[in-house]
């Protein structure tokens, strides 16, 4: 018994030693190869990737112009209407309404914090820009909801679609936004509409992902029971699945919203205007104080929006909780 035990221990030691030997050999080879190839100049023929993209964009600019014009028109109409609304409501009404709602649902401390934050924005003279930012974010969110949630629903129904979608979503979320700002400018020009579309590209993935996830998580037992009584796919979706998924979907919407707000600074590079512009302006002139004020305003907006939508999501989940 004892002998076999020490035997096996020895074997383990042997394996460990061998591993170290191999690792040492590999590192040695690597260094040796580098040393030997030091003087040799190795080149590969250039793959014309950039040229290809240029050509494709050029082609799209010319041939897909009617399509992009159509999109532009829709976005502009929506944006104009939403901006007009935010401009039309006086700041005092907003501040009182948000403060009151926060007091009613989120408690006195949150309400005081919200009030202080919003009043600061007003007093430093950034309210109009803040509203312009909010209008842009809202427009993006409307578009994100009407595209992201249906896509999420489709993904939850179809495994193949889901797995085709996943790398696309990853790319949308991880690719540095500057990279696609360039083609967006080419295709759509600069201004608020391309800013909205760039924001959409960046911020839609969480809405899609969590809608898909939420619907896949709905208990199969509940779905089966509901279906056994003769519910149609349409009834299943609207009476069973979406109500049970709403809390998770809201979490996704909240994430999208936060990402949309964080995009406003970057999108100001292509003419989004609003608070992002103030940050950019301060940066280019090294005005730290102005930059701080604009940054603070963005932060306040983000916190107010985040806390409010989270509260909404919690109410939704309370509605559908299982117990």
């Amino acid at each position: 018994m004892k002998g076999s035990l020490s035997d096996s221990t020895k074997r383990v030691m042997d394996i460990k030693n061998r591993k170290w030997l191999i690792a040492g050999g590999v590192v040695g080879l690597f260094l040796l190869a580098s040393k030997l190839l030091q003087a040799v100049e190795l080149t590969l023929p250039r793959v014309p990737l950039a040229d290809g993209v240029d050509v494709a964009i050029e082609w799209a600019t010319i041939n897909l112009a009617p399509f992009f014009d159509g999109i532009k028109l829709v976005v502009i109409k929506l944006l104009v209407a939403i901006t007009a609304f935010f401009d039309w409501v006086p700041w005092i009404v907003w501040v009182v309404a948000v403060g009151g709602a926060a007091f009613r649902w989120l408690g006195i401390r949150t309400a005081v914090f919200f009030l202080a934050g919003l009043l600061t924005i007003v007093s430093v003279g950034l309210w109009d820009h803040a509203m312009s930012t909010i209008a842009l974010v809202s427009t993006s969110m409307v578009l994100i909801l009407v595209t992201g949630i249906p896509i999420g629903i489709m993904a939850s129904r179809n495994d193949r679609f889901e797995s085709a979608l996943r790398p696309v979503l990853d790319a949308m979320q991880t690719m540095p936004s500057f990279v696609y700002l360039i083609p967006v400018i080419f295709l759509l020009g600069s201004g608020k509409v391309p800013a909205v579309l760039a924001t959409m590209i960046y911020a839609t993935p969480p809405a899609i992902r969590l809608t898909n996830l939420a619907l896949r998580q709905v208990s199969p037992e509940i779905k089966e029971a509901a279906r056994s009584f003769g519910a149609t796919p349409f009834q299943m979706l609207f009476k069973v699945e979406l109500p049970l998924a709403v809390a998770t979907i809201m979490a996704g919407v909240n994430q999208s919203l936060m990402m949309a707000i964080s995009m406003v600074v970057i999108a100001s590079l292509i003419g989004a205007g609003g608070l992002g512009n103030d940050v950019l302006f301060a940066m280019s002139r090294v005005r730290v104080g102005d930059g701080f004020e604009a940054g603070l305003a963005i932060l306040v907006l983000a916190i107010v929006v985040d806390r409010s939508t989270q509260a909404l999501g919690q109410r939704a989940s309370k509605e559908t909780r299982t117990e």
Binding site: E221, I222, E224, A225, A226, R227, S228, F229, G230, A231, T232, Q235, K239, V240, P243, L244, E319, T320, R321, T322, E323
Partner: protein, 445 residues
């Protein structure tokens, strides 16, 4: 439409192989001849139903019994195509439902069937009332009307007052009543129940069984009831089908199954029921319909039998000692012969007597052997007639006994669990309910 007398539902050669894609058509030989193990080894497919056939008559309670994994849930789900069967036919009211289009299928589920599930499957975001109305809601029945019907049905299952609660606020037993109400309110002809009471505490389970019997007495639905418990099967079933590894190995009435178990597997089930019975015949016997003295005249005997509506009667001497039976025909012949009493018309041989202290278990073979002849006489040590015994009472008593034993086992297991691990309560399904929990207070030590 179905012809008169045709079964409400018949299943013909139904197969389900998980992992193979195919519906309808003839069973390929290479599948028909393979065992469950072979199939799993060959390509990972699971043979869940193998050539299942049975008929269910209108208004009866058809119980499907088998151990875990025998394919019961698969079977009941294929009946409404929640699972698509691989081969075979399912004929309901003369229609093969496997030929239905998607739209016809939805319609079929709405009008012909409703289901009750082991884990209830209630909608957690809706009130008890709305849950009970679900079947009517999907049929687009106006809100006021469907809520009215749901309210009445909840009342029927004893849940009035709970309409506005969420299902999560109810105990397991009450949630299953909601499930039952939902199924009844939909007013379909066929009720499919997949182990509806298995997740419930023993006491509540018995309650619910009684409830179901009571409801069935005035609803007259066609019931297909799944269980893994022979006692429950005997208690509820008009016919019982026993399944093993996807095969139906016996179909019969409770009496037939107790009398002649089709194979070792069934015999083991039956043994389980028998072992547990300790009740004697005395506790379950009935009073005789008609008891005659041997000194009675044939004419009086005939008149009394006529009044009592029986074709034979027990005969005793003046001290109530049992002598035998006399049939109406026997009495009539005695009268023709001009006998003064019925003493000579008494027959003894065909009618064995049972001592009152016989255990139910030993009485079973005797009553089953004579079950075509009606009640048997029960006598005490002195041979005095003390009662009569019907085969159905014996079977019923054994079912009850077996259930008591099961309940007892499970109750002690449950209390053990409760005192050992609090976190296991959730797995129990109704453990986290606050309203009714008989295990409360057991969590001592």
């Amino acid at each position: 439409m179905a012809q008169e007398g045709a079964p409400k539902l018949s299943v013909r050669g139904l197969w389900k192989v998980f992992g193979h894609e195919s519906t309808g058509g003839i069973v390929p030989d290479e599948i028909a001849n393979k065992s469950k193990e072979d199939m799993r080894e060959d390509d990972g497919a699971v043979l869940a139903l193998k050539d299942v056939s049975f008929d269910v008559n209108e208004g009866e309670t058809f119980v499907v019994m088998g151990l875990s994994g025998s394919g019961k849930s698969t079977l009941v789900r294929t009946l409404v195509r929640l699972i698509e069967p691989s081969y075979g036919q399912i004929i309901v009211d003369g229609d093969d439902i496997l030929q239905y289009s998607e739209k016809e299928l939805v319609d079929f589920r709405r009008r012909k069937t409703s289901m009750v599930f082991q884990h209830f499957g209630l909608l957690p975001h809706r009130s008890v009332l709305e849950n009970a109305a679900w079947g009517l809601e999907v049929q687009n029945i106006p809100k006021a009307k469907r809520l009215q019907i749901a309210r009445e049905t909840l009342d029927l299952v004893g849940l009035s007052g709970w309409e506005d609660y969420r299902p999560g606020a109810l105990s397991g037993g009450m949630q299953q009543r909601v499930g039952l109400a939902r199924a009844i309110a939909a007013d379909a002809d066929i009720l499919l129940m997949d182990e509806p009471f298995s997740g419930l505490d023993p006491l509540i389970r018995r309650d619910m069984q009684g409830e179901l019997i009571r409801l069935q007495e005035h609803l007259h639905k066609t019931l297909i009831f799944i269980t893994h418990d022979l006692a429950e099967a005997l208690k509820l079933g008009t016919h019982i089908a026993i399944m093993r590894d996807g095969v139906v190995i016996q179909i019969g009435t409770g009496e037939e199954i107790l009398e002649a178990p089709a194979d070792d597997y069934v015999a083991e089930f039956v043994q389980d029921v028998r072992r547990t019975t300790v009740v004697t015949v005395r506790t379950i016997m009935d009073q005789p319909d008609l008891k005659l003295r041997q000194s009675t005249t044939p004419a009086v005997a005939m008149r009394e039998m006529g009044q009592a509506g029986v074709v034979s009667a027990f005969v005793c001497d003046e001290e109530d000692h049992y002598l035998g039976m006399v049939s109406f025909n026997g009495a009539a012949e005695a009268k023709q012969r001009g006998d003064a009493t019925i003493a000579d018309a008494i027959t003894v041989d065909e009618y064995p007597t049972l001592p009152a202290d016989t255990s139910v278990e030993s009485a079973l073979p005797v009553v089953l052997e004579h079950h075509n002849e009606g009640a048997l006489a029960v006598t005490d040590e002195e041979g005095v007639l003390v009662g009569t015994l019907l085969p159905s009472s014996v079977v019923g008593a054994m079912a009850q006994e077996a259930q008591d034993a099961t309940d007892h086992r499970e109750a002690s297991a449950a209390s053990l669990e409760a005192s050992h691990a609090d976190d296991q309560e959730e797995a129990d399904g109704d453990g986290d309910s606050e309203a009714v929990d008989p295990r409360e207070g057991m969590e001592v030590s």
